[in-house]
């Protein structure tokens, strides 16, 4: 069921992976297309999740909505789901960021319900 929901992201232009992941880097579920999520990527995602929560806390304990990190080849978009779980979308830099974040918000409740 969760795979089906994640698969909705893969049909978006440029999206390479949609992952539900824990803050410690452990992948709960993922759908990928022509990309490898190895230990280094998992470690990097874990750093982003943990650090971003801390950084958001510097804004008077503001809640974190979304984190985007873009490189010349790929970008990653992370959105908190519930507790220590995040939805992560990895896409080519040519992808439409607005479309991805829209789908992330639209499917957030469904993903949380499936966890």
């Amino acid at each position: 069921m969760l795979k089906e929901t994640l698969n909705k992201f893969l049909i978006l232009n440029g999206v390479q992976a949609a992952v539900v992941i824990q803050e410690n880097g452990e992948i709960i579920e993922s759908m990928k297309s022509a990309i490898t999520i190895n230990k280094d990527v998992q470690a990097a995602l874990s750093i982003i999740m943990l650090d971003s929560k801390v950084t958001a806390g510097q804004f008077g304990n503001a809640s974190l909505s979304t984190v985007f990190i873009e490189f010349t080849d790929y970008m990653v978009i992370l959105g908190p789901l519930i507790e220590e779980f995040f939805l992560v979308v990895i896409a080519k830099s040519t992808a439409n960021i607005g479309q991805i974040t829209y789908e992330m918000k639209k499917n957030q409740d469904a993903i949380v319900a499936q966890l």
Partner: protein, 324 residues
């Protein structure tokens, strides 16, 4: 005295270290109006040569070297660059009695003149004490605080932006545009690393932004939803355009930068383009900018895709001018 001076043509308000003024006014002739807390002052500059320094806080007047020292005691000052015509500049010099006295300081503000300040009073060892008082000495003047001490705002609130300053055809060494009232001098004890280095301390090398950089940053600042833009590096904030306290913003920007440095060796995804942290109040974006970094604070409603494109263009074409 300040009220008598010609208005000049405002190029814009900005916040920057005092040294910025001296390194970016080579072709500028006019007045730099300085506001520090409740006091105000000015520097008359003719093509890179500061001729008159003046600052007034209540009944206290600082002139010449004392005023300069006071400006330099602040890591960042807020000022408005106003261009003068030759006639206006002559008039301003007359008002300051410049023709009658040799009152200027050397172009390099770090050079100490042999003679005392042409204005009355002794040069203070520290910038805070007054040089001269207009009222009778019986009334003790309030001390000018060296720095203010406001609590760092947890999130610099988006503010209404001042109307855009008219485009400046000349003054190539100056920022084309900056904007409205800036935040109160925000240095606090909590951020000692951001203090202006005192004498004896090692001063980080000056960072000079070129005219195209200033234009680009000014253009970005004018976009709807941009609350503030800072250019910073590991040592200092180089430039701030926006009505926010710089220290809390800079602290967050550096935390984000640290995150990118941690993940960069782990990901083979190309060069870092930007990191955007979205919270309910807005977005904080950091991005490489030449050898420095940009930190952009935006409202929540801004088009992230637009900002993305601009940042990509900036990095792909470092000489590009028309980005927006």
């Amino acid at each position: 005295m300040i009220e008598q001076l010609p208005e000049g043509k405002s190029i814009g308000w900005m916040q920057a270290p005092p040294q910025w003024i001296f390194t970016h006014t080579v072709r500028f002739m006019g007045i730099v109006r300085v506001v520090i807390q409740d006091g105000e002052g000015f520097i008359l500059i003719k093509k890179g040569t500061p001729l008159v320094y003046y600052f007034k806080h209540g009944r206290i007047e600082l002139r010449g070297r004392a005023a300069l020292d006071y400006f330099k005691s602040h890591p960042i000052i807020e000022f408005n660059l106003c261009k003068y015509t030759p006639e206006e500049f002559t008039e301003a010099l007359k008002i300051c009695n410049f023709e009658e006295r040799v009152e200027g300081l050397p172009p390099n503000p770090d050079q100490t003149p042999e003679q005392d300040s042409p204005f009355e009073g002794d040069l203070p060892a520290s910038p805070a004490p007054p040089v001269s008082e207009t009222p009778p000495a019986a009334e003790a003047p309030p001390a000018i605080p060296a720095v203010s001490s406001i609590s760092p705002a947890p999130m610099p609130s988006p503010v209404s932006q001042a109307p855009a300053v008219e485009a400046e055809e000349e003054a190539p060494e100056l920022p084309e545009e900056s904007h409205g009232e800036a935040a109160e001098e925000p240095v606090t004890e909590e951020y000692p690393e951001l203090r202006y280095p005192s004498e004896g301390q090692e001063v980080p090398p000056a960072v000079v932004l070129d005219e195209p950089d200033m234009k680009i940053i000014g253009q970005m600042k004018r976009l709807n939803g941009i609350v503030a833009i800072s250019v910073f590096n590991d040592d200092r904030n180089i430039l701030l355009m926006g009505d926010v306290a710089i220290e809390p913003l800079l602290r967050i920007a550096r935390t984000m930068l640290e995150t990118t440095r941690k993940i960069d060796p782990l990901l083979d995804w190309g060069s870092f383009v930007h990191m955007t942290l979205q919270i309910p109040e807005g977005n904080v974006i950091i991005a490489p900018y030449h050898e420095n970094y940009l930190c952009i604070l935006t409202t929540r409603t801004i088009n992230i895709g637009h900002i993305r494109r601009i940042l990509r263009d900036l990095q792909q074409n470092s000489n590009g001018m028309t980005l927006i």
